[in-house]
Amino acid sequence: MPETTPLPGQERFLAPLDETPLQETGALDTSSPPESQWKEAWKELRRNWLFWVSGAMILLVAVVVIAPGLFTNLDPSYADLSKSLDPGSSGHIAGYDKQGYDVFARMIYGARASVLVGVLTTILIVVVGLITGAVAGFYGGWVDSVISRIADIFFAIPLLLGALVGLSVINNLFPDRGEFGGIVAVVIALGVFGWPQITRITRGQVLQVKNMEFIDAARAIGATKRSNLLRHVIPNSLPPVIVTATVSLGILIVAEATLSFLGIGLPPGVVSWGNDINAAQNQIRSGQRIGVMFWPAGALAFTALGFILLGDAVSDALNPKRRTE
């Protein structure tokens, strides 16, 4: 490096000190209150319009499920055959179906069965999937092999086909199982073939988390494997499971409707969207009164869309990488 006179523009330059003050390295930013990752995600969620739209949709559905009487004072199980396929009048905005049931009242009361199936099945698959996935991923070895192979067996049978067979078996065993029994049957049939998806997601996430340094730090403290799994690994593996569970809720509601549509889901006596859509298919085929199908199908799509949108919003909030773009 020979010493030469600097070229123009490269003379020695020193910025005025008052314009470039040194900042304390390692000062704590106390401008905002402490925030955990969950709280931060919640804040992020509240900023997202998708969350508010989907939240409002789900809230509306929830109110309908809890208090259907607020929306209609008609009896969904009262049929007047003389009004068959009547397009409707005041107080009967959606008209009547083939049997003379009030379509709107049935849409309102049908929410309960559909939503219940979705919620209960989701709880079932999350509980089973979370436990199996976490144990398989964390302990590895033969435990992992056994759980993964069993999950593969259930995963290899397509959900719809498996649930159909399962329900037909339950139909044979318990032909008269009532409204709640009918719902439980669908939950079991969907749950049995639905859990491996959650198992796989949880297992993958646990495999990532268990190799992080804070797990080693906890081991070095002397924490037991079990407390490590429960206190560190599972909580940190939850985000993708929550996202999948939310979206699954919507998709399972659609799956229930499909089973009912095939005539094998909820028992015919249960007021549900799937059953009503099933009953309305002849009207579509013949092209008369599409509205009979429109109402239950619309309500179903609205509900499913609510959960799927919420899943999207939650996913954005929990995934900081996607958020920053």
């Binding site: 192979r149 290899a156 397509p158 067979v165 919507g250 999207d312």
Partner: protein, 308 residues
């Protein structure tokens, strides 16, 4: 690589066995007299009873029944339907139709899904992207049979562009509408998957490096963004063939397509165990084979993965 295929095939054996055992148990391991259930209220002739019991090995313990079924299946004998037709023949007639339908759906959904997802990803946040987002969400949320009926009504009944039902003539032309309906949901998933993947890849370091080399947007997008984004899509597509064939239950019902889905549905309703078990076994085999195909495709797409 052959070792890898061999190892995977070995791993698949317990899955196939387990799945058939599971479904076999669900169908055949029920309380009560299956033969009596078959005849309903009618009195059962003892000679007929004996012949049926012999045919289905009903007098053996359950596990032996299953093993005998498997043994017969390996020789191509899947049992008889109630109408005394060989199950293998019934499935053999229906399977090509559903395979054709599912492959058509697969082609339609992947071409449209990748194209729309790619474009939406490139134009993230713009009108096309938002429109596609809403379209894909609607397609996932609305049950497929609703679309089926609507399309049947519009294109079949009102416009007359396509036959309302397919019936005996399962030509590509006749299967077009059912294939579109069948592929709709997967189209939405592929679109979303491609879009996410494209958006992620657009910010990848190596894409920036490609731009710094002086490559035009066009070459960057086609050579670096699109190809790298295909990897998760291919994985999805592989698993999708099985899902499509199962989903055909609904679509084939609406359009009256004489395929596996229709067959399965009727068999389940009639309690025709041998047919049900055989169809599920077939589906499981498809799933297992497709998983392996996906793995190999993966290795072909991504040179980092080498199955030694």
């Amino acid at each position: 690589m052959w070792w890898y295929i061999g190892r995977r095939a070995l791993q698949a054996i317990p899955v196939v066995l387990g799945a058939t055992l599971l479904i076999y148990a669900m169908v055949f391991l029920q309380p009560g007299d299956p033969i009596k259930a078959l005849f309903g209220e009618k009195p059962v002739n003892e000679t007929i009873r004996a012949s049926i019991a012999a045919q289905y090995n009903l007098d053996d313990p359950f596990l032996i029944q299953w093993l005998k079924y498997l043994g017969n299946a390996l020789t191509g004998d899947f049992g008889l339907t109630y109408a005394q037709q060989p199950v293998s023949q019934v499935i053999g007639d229906a399977f090509p139709v559903t395979l054709k339908l599912a492959v058509m759906a697969l082609i339609i959904e992947s071409v449209l899904g990748v194209a729309a997802g790619f474009y939406a990803g490139l134009r993230k946040g713009k009108l096309f992207d938002s429109t596609m987002l809403i379209v894909s969400l609607l397609v996932i949320a609305v049950p497929i049979f609703v679309f089926g009926f609507l399309m049947q009504l519009i294109f079949g009944v009102k416009l007359g562009w396509a036959p309302i039902t397919v019936g005996g003539d399962a030509s590509i032309k006749n299967l077009m509408l059912p294939a579109i309906v069948l592929g709709l949901v997967s189209f939405a998933y592929i679109l979303r998957l491609t879009r996410t993947s494209v958006v992620e890849n657009l910010t990848a370091d190596h894409v920036r490096t490609a731009r710094a080399k002086g490559l035009s947007d066009r070459s960057v997008n086609s050579r670096h963004v699109l190809r790298n984004s295909m990897i998760p899509v291919v994985t999805y597509l592989g698993a999708d063939l099985g899902t499509l064939m199962a989903g055909a239950i609904v679509t084939e019902g609406i359009f009256n397509v004489p395929g596996i889905g229709n067959l399965a549905f009727r068999a389940i309703n009639r309690g025709e165990g041998s047919t049900v078990v055989s169809i599920v076994t077939l589906m499981v085999l498809i799933y297992v084979v497709m998983s392996l195909v996906v793995d190999l495709l993966y290795a072909w797409l991504d040179p980092r993965i080498r199955y030694a």
